[in-house]
């Protein structure tokens, strides 16, 4: 018995617009400046972020366009029409597996950061469990509700991020930004490749667009959503470089965390703003994780149509949790993260592009 149920389980283009940045902005934003500062000169890294962002926008368009061609059809249904049923099922299962791995990696990483900065003595497993239970709760509920949550959380996260950047302008030194455009081409390329990984995650629109009633607006909404992370990353990068300088940034593992630590609110009343920052950051990470988990369940559900969603969640979640516990060191988590990113490149860029080309060549269209 449920006392309240949302009237419709449909979403509009607005939900898609917010789902994309909520999904994309996650772990990567903490470490991105460090990863690109090393291979670029002074503040030149923003060029690479922009470059990678433009490439990503193109793929976002393809991905959303592909899904929008088949309104009200699940991924496995339209993939089956494009590349035969067995192939579609295999790919959907792999997709689900990839997202489950992604979920477990984030759950572990969030717990790690929380342990490092917030709960020093709480066991890691407990932190993971607490976070993951909330994620399970989120994914078990209404799907449209989860997507609407993005509309609420993301602006809050954005405001806090902007405040952190603003309070740091005091430490900003223009000298750190100069000289401009002195980076070698290879440096730009390397940094662009690094930033590419931080833009992954938008592949969820392949699934979520199926919830839309009218899909024409989806590609544009997804692209508008994607410009937000691009802008955020560029601004964060420039502020980080301006505050810490290029060399120091390339040596600080989480520049954004350190930026949050430097915040001094006038009046000397508030110190240690980073705890607030972490709360907000974990909120966005909740969105990312819950959507990743939800889409993987959605993918499984589209293959095993007879199973109930809640049962799929109960079957998969112990595995997700255990895989999250497995790695022992920071290094291992990073290695697994890198491998997941490689899969991400396949599922978010290669696969949609391939399916899109096939749909154009074979002129397969949806019923809509």
């Amino acid at each position: 018995m449920k006392s309240f149920e949302y009237g419709d389980q449909e979403i509009s283009h607005k939900e898609i617009m917010f789902a994309v940045p909520s999904m994309v902005v996650g772990l990567g934003i903490l470490t991105l400046p460090q990863r690109i500062a090393g291979s670029t000169n002074a503040s030149d890294g923003w060029v690479s972020i922009l470059g990678a962002g433009i490439i990503i926008l193109f793929f976002v368009w393809i991905t959303a366009k592909l899904a929008a061609q088949f309104p009200k059809m699940t991924f496995v249904e339209y993939a089956a029409r494009l590349i035969s049923k067995p192939a579609a099922i295999t790919i959907t299962l792999l997709f689900s597996l990839y997202l489950l791995m992604f979920t477990s990696n984030i759950v572990r990483s969030v717990a790690n950061v929380a342990k490092d900065y917030l709960f020093e003595r709480t066991p890691l497993e407990v932190l993971m469990l607490v976070f993951f239970l909330v994620v399970i709760y989120g994914a078990a509920g209404s799907r449209a509700g989860l997507l609407r949550l993005n509309l609420m959380f993301f602006p809050v996260a954005l405001i806090v991020l902007i405040l952190i950047l603003l309070f740091n302008l005091k430490h900003f030194e223009i000298d750190n930004i100069l000289p401009v455009f002195q980076t070698e081409w290879s440096g730009y390329m390397k940094a662009a490749r690094e930033s590419l990984y931080s833009f992954l995650g938008f592949e969820i629109v392949l699934f979520y667009i199926a919830l839309m009633n009218r899909t024409q607006k989806a590609p544009k909404a997804a692209m508008v959503g994607m410009t937000l992370p691009i802008l955020i990353y560029m601004i964060v990068y420039i502020v980080v470089i301006g505050v810490f300088g290029n060399q120091a940034t390339s040596q600080i593992i989480g520049p954004l965390i350190d930026l949050a630590k430097e915040v001094i609110v006038p009046g000397q009343f508030f110190e240690r703003i980073e705890s607030i920052f972490f709360v907000i950051w974990i909120m966005t990470l909740f969105n990312t994780t819950a959507m990743a988990f939800d889409v993987s369940i959605m993918a499984l559900n589209s293959v095993f149509t007879k199973m109930k969603k809640i049962n799929l969640i109960f079957i998969t979640s112990p595995f997700v949790f255990l895989i999250g516990i497995l790695p022992n060191t920071f290094h291992e988590i990073m290695t697994i993260g890198t491998w997941i990113s490689y899969f991400g490149i396949f599922f978010s860029m290669l696969l949609p592009a391939l399916l899109f080309i096939i749909s154009k060549i074979r002129r397969v269209r949806g019923y809509g």
Binding site: Y117, T122, F244, E262
Partner: protein
């Protein structure tokens, strides 16, 4: 009914999960560290003791004494006053010092509110700064915004001052730096994070100097660090620091005194801007033009002159221009000839504006071939007196005695 019982059971289980916190530390048990001082240990007896207690232990190059200033939380009242106590411990590494300290105090030190780090002259001169700063950057409890100072003599003496207004010593030192807008000879604050950048870039830099005597501290002058050797090579006096501040365009205020007609007049700086342009016609011998533009008021006048006479004012302005040029030249001379260290950021200027030239000079700027010592620095000052005060004369002519 059944459903309800299950809900109650769930609720009770939740109590076990949610109540309690692994990370609870009562505020009384936290030793809030406000300031840290590091000295070299010279105690030989102690070293013998360690040798006896743990003979096989790996030994560092030197032993340090770490002094933490901790505050007693209950005593803090407004305006930074409260009771503090200092704890010192020695060790080969800072972490060892902290561990040693834990054996002596009831409160576990908590560094997240740490404001200042004072290093003794000896520590800096022997080149220990890079290794000592590591923990201040690496440890997640540390902020990158801790202020770093170099003490003349022993560093912990500075934390032992007893300010007249009952402020906590560390907070007192921390707030003295904010007076930089009134004193030209004070070096602006330098943070741990800034030094990280300097050390990574192998840049030469300067840190504020702190001198203490019992009740008071004085924060004029600066310590010069050579970027290649990464150790301190000497102090700049208060006046030389004035020159440094002018060159680096970090003047927030202060005064100049010039002699005119046998007596002094005081010029109060309102705005001072410095522009440096580099002439790289000869890439190995860049020429720097330093242009100083000062605007300010006539603050105090001992000399018997008429401040509303245009000629007199022009005369004063010229005198001031010469004074500024003299101060700046004394600094550049000291840095070029004595220290052979570019702590003025001229290299950074080249890097910013003439990247190609800098790429050639980089390895031989204030190291190797030392091109820095041979480059020409030309100073021109322009001074404007805007206001002359609210009166013309404060007294009649003074008779000769």
């Amino acid at each position: 009914m059944h459903k309800r019982r299950r809900l109650v059971l769930c609720g009770m289980l939740l109590l076990f999960l949610t109540a309690g916190c692994w990370d609870r530390i009562d505020i009384e048990e936290r030793g809030f560290v406000l300031g840290t001082a590091i000295d070299l240990s010279k105690n030989e007896e102690e070293e013998e003791n360690i040798e006896a207690e743990s003979p096989g232990k790996p030994k560092g190059k030197t032993r340090f004494i770490l002094t933490n200033q901790m505050v007693i939380p209950g005593t803090i009242v407004e305006d930074n006053s409260g009771e503090t106590y200092n704890v010192s411990a020695s060790g080969d590494t800072l972490f060892e010092c902290v561990r040693e300290m834990a054996a002596r105090t009831s409160q576990s030190p908590f560094y997240e509110h740490n404001k200042i780090l004072i290093l003794s002259e000896d520590v800096a001169k022997r080149g220990h700064i890079p290794s000592l700063l590591d923990v201040f950057l690496r440890d997640k409890e540390m902020k990158r915004s801790i202020q770093v100072l170099i003490a003349v003599g022993e560093a912990r003496k500075a934390l032992e001052v007893k300010p007249q207004n009952k402020e906590m010593p560390a907070m007192y030192i921390n707030s003295v730096v904010n007076n930089a807008y009134k004193n030209l000879g004070m070096h602006p604050e330098v943070l741990v994070g800034d030094i990280h950048e300097y050390l990574l870039l192998d840049e030469s830099f300067t840190l504020p100097r702190i001198m203490s005597d019992g009740d008071e501290i004085k924060m004029t002058g600066s310590a010069v660090f050579q970027g290649d050797a990464k150790r301190m090579i000497g102090f700049l006096s208060s006046e030389e620091t004035e020159g440094l501040n002018i060159i680096k365009n970090q003047v927030e205020g202060g005064l100049f005194q010039v002699e005119i007609e046998g007596d002094l007049i005081v010029y109060e700086i309102k705005k001072l801007k410095t522009r440096i342009s580099a002439d790289v016609a000869d890439p190995l011998r860049p020429k720097f033009h330093v242009t100083v533009l000062a605007q300010g008021n006539l603050g105090e006048k001992y000399a018997m002159i008429d401040p509303f006479d245009a000629d007199v004012i022009t005369n004063i302005e010229h005198k001031l221009e010469h004074e500024i040029e003299r101060i700046v030249n004394s600094t550049t001379e000291k840095l070029q000839k004595d220290f052979e260290t570019d702590a003025m950021g001229l290299g950074t200027l080249l890097k910013r504006n003439h990247y190609k030239v800098w790429k050639r000079l980089e390895g031989d700027w204030d190291r190797g071939e030392k091109y820095f010592t041979r480059c020409e620095i030309e100073v021109t000052a322009r001074v404007q007196i805007e206001r002359r005060g609210t009166i013309i004369k404060s007294h009649g002519a003074l008779g000769d005695m």
